[in-house]
Subunit: 197 residues, 2 copies
DNA sequence: GTTGAATGCGAGCAATGACTCGCGTCACGA
DNA sequence: TCGTGACGCGAGTCATTGCTCGCATTCAAC
């Protein structure tokens, strides 16, 4: 941010800009995401945009950050609800929460995950992954039979990446062969069999 | 292709252009991939480029297609070597082949997988996935105990997507916690436990 | 050697888009 | 009421880039 909006009027404008950015991204795609267009859609002049955002990437970043924060919050909320209650139920609930979060705005997910250069998401997605991974690692390490083969750190890395991709592709591709419930069952079978190996 | 190069001279030029495209992509990134720059690096004029490629996307497509074809060929070769010999050994060998293929040009993989809009890869990657998935489905369906829970079609979908992401992220992120051999072991444990559940 | 097609060149067009700047307007404290 | 700084505007600048076109050069068949 180039400078912080002070009056209510300008704060509202920044809001309108971010919302417009999201809209442009969803409705017109990443290629059409130009500062001029975002400003126009927001009903604001290009010059005003640059009073609060240093460059084009800055608005995009805010839009993306907000999206992943939304997703992360939903997953975190589900995780927080079941603190202590680890085990299969938790895996299922977390995956379910992730699915729900991704389904909430499939259009934006499509743009963010498939049209945008992944690099732009890196940071945020990595943060989400790390969060879940660390939680899982500590749980695994605290298990009674923790000396077992799947090293906790490695196991969480594997499980988180596997589930992440399955959830994302399922939401984006909507494969006919597998229903939502089925997906949850399969995920459970996959990680269940693995962690107890 | 706008028209097919007939003389050796022009065929060579097309080659130089594609190679230059790959170089620009790797060394300067996707943002710098402009027709003029590709032509310059190839030591060719922009006009000549447009004699054989209808537009910018066309060269990019050739570069990307060649890359994924390379990967697919390596995986397919490994698969062909072990036809009939299904089971854990095959999973390990295939994953190994995929890893090797992805490691062969990590720089290009980074650009192709992280800088490029995923959409551009869709087709080719989907083709590779489908190929492996179908092979696996037929194997699973032919198993003696094929009436078991993991439905063949679903199971291959799950396994292929999980392995794909693990392999790709491992090559790109090179996580310290997990070595190459370890990765192979984990993948085996993951799908082994799942398929026999 | 001549000729016509294939090839290659590169200046330049047209469009786009990120970003600026000078000017007018508005809100708020004095 | 008035002055000052925050706010907002939008025409315009500058650089880039995808792509074309008219001309020069080379190749191969006769």
């Amino acid at each position: 941010m180039r400078k912080a909006p002070q009056q209510a009027r300008s704060r509202e404008m920044v809001e309108r800009l971010v919302t417009a950015g999201r809209r442009v991204l969803v409705e017109r795609g990443y290629d059409a995401f130009s500062t001029n267009r975002v400003a126009t859609v927001a009903g604001v002049s290009p010059g005003s945009l640059y009073q609060y955002f240093p460059d084009k990437a800055a608005i995009l970043e805010v839009v993306i950050d907000r999206y992943w924060e939304e997703v992360a919050d939903r997953v975190a909320a589900s995780l927080a609800d079941r603190i202590g209650e680890f085990g299969p139920g938790m895996v299922r609930a977390t995956t379910d929460a992730l699915l729900t979060a991704l389904e909430a705005d499939r259009e934006l997910l499509r743009v963010v995950a498939e049209e945008l250069p992944v690099q732009r998401n890196r940071e945020r997605r990595a943060a989400l992954e790390r969060r879940v991974r660390e939680l899982m690692t500590t749980y695994l390490a605290a298990r009674p039979d923790s000396s077992h083969r799947p090293n906790p750190a490695v196991a969480s890395w594997v499980v988180v990446l596997a589930i992440e991709n399955l959830a994302m592709r399922w939401v984006l591709d909507q494969p006919e062969v597998v229903t939502r419930d089925q997906l949850l069952d399969e995920v459970l079978a996959l990680v269940g069999g693995y962690l107890l190996a």
